[in-house]
Symmetry: C2
Subunit: 241 residues, 2 copies
């Protein structure tokens, strides 16, 4: 079996410039990354090369190259002669990673406050009000997507792609967990309050203030995730008994 059918799935239209041909192992990285981030592959799950090859319809070479990349990103762990498995964070690691994120986000907020254009600020305001609208309609998905968009915009306004790339990479390691905690009812009021303060700080170009808010905001998110985690742990131990 050649990879013709798989290729067909990702290939561009037959006509016109092929713009930028993706390589197989790159698309494989993206596939597996999605699986992990969206929780299809749960933390601790063993990744069998042969199995994955079959489901993805590719041979082992590009798969193994993809696994190396994912390991470098910290999404999976590879132990010699024993294969790969989805990374599983201890509570300590989770706290540390969130702490790192809080530092990155605070820094990017500080830069953004200095560098953001009026147009970008307006965009963020619009997203903010759209988010409020979602809140009144109890539209969870819409709420979270606006929320994420606001943070992305701030990151972009920091005008530092090295920072943004690092932010994205670290965020991915937490995404799978955040994904789960997003099914909880958010603490609307405090979150809305935080975002209100963030807007004020941005308008005042008060980098230090924004930085402090973002940092605390993320530490609150960490606690929310930790709560979900421990609740799941309890459920798991009850099931075992």
């Amino acid at each position: 079996m050649q990879n013709s059918d798989f290729d067909a799935g990702v290939a561009a239209s037959p006509l016109m410039p092929k713009v930028e041909r993706q390589r197989l192992h790159d698309t494989v990285v993206e596939h597996i990354r999605r699986f992990i981030v969206e929780g299809v592959l749960e933390p601790g799950k063993k990744l069998n090369e042969r199995e994955l090859c079959e489901t993805l319809g590719i041979s082992r070479t590009p798969l193994r190259e993809a696994l190396k990349v994912l390991a470098a990103e910290g999404l999976i762990e590879i132990s010699p002669n024993r294969g790969a498995s989805v990374s599983k964070m201890s509570e300590a690691e989770l706290r540390e990673t969130f702490e790192l994120m809080s530092g990155l986000e605070a820094f990017s907020g500080e830069l953004a406050a200095e560098r953001m254009t009026a147009a970008e600020l307006a965009e963020i305001k619009a997203l903010h009000y759209a988010m409020l609208a979602c809140r009144t309609q109890n539209d969870l998905a819409g709420y979270y997507s606006r929320n994420q968009a606001i943070h992305d915009k701030i990151n972009e306004a920091a005008r530092n792609s090295a920072l943004r790339q690092t932010y994205v990479a670290v965020n991915r390691r937490l995404q799978a967990l955040r994904f789960r905690s997003n099914f909880q009812i958010p603490k609307w009021d405090s979150a809305i309050h935080d975002h209100d303060e963030m807007l004020k700080a941005l308008e005042a170009r008060d980098g230090k203030k924004l930085s402090a808010i973002l940092r605390q905001h993320l530490l609150d998110k960490r606690d929310a995730v930790l709560q979900v985690q421990s609740r799941e742990d309890v459920a798991a131990s009850v099931l075992k008994a």
Copy 2:
């Protein structure tokens, strides 16, 4: 040719626990990383797979896996069907990366000021005086190694391995450049002054202060690197003419 001779180089002694067998592609990653960080492979240098295989005495599979990892780390760039080359930073990228580093170092300093033990502080003090000694003897290598050790200790005292790993990864991207600028005569006085201030802030457990010093310290380093860069650019253009 099998890889028997290469293996012999990295294999442990025949007796006793094999402790932790390294895999070929991991050692290859480390090799090439060293080459890049120490400037043996210069920025922009094309990495021919066949050539590298021959010099390292391995086949293409582990080499390619290693290249994927190095690309994920940002040390090399791979373009489809055109192979890999050592990453070359534009001045803008260099500024951004240093800015990111300044943020990471500042954050880790802030945490370290809160969390450092008295013993660690004493160690740093010792390194500080050893560094001063090197200065009076004009021992450049010794000076830089103590300098690096102090920054590593601060990072360690932050008690956050996610932060440390990110710090190390970003630092590697700059290492090759810093390596070159280290052959310049350092600005002893201002550097010593900075380090003096850092110690004071640490003793006072003043995280914000330490954070600010580290940030500025790194931005100064950035300027030193930029100077060397532009000087080399001038030299290169003269040679071409």
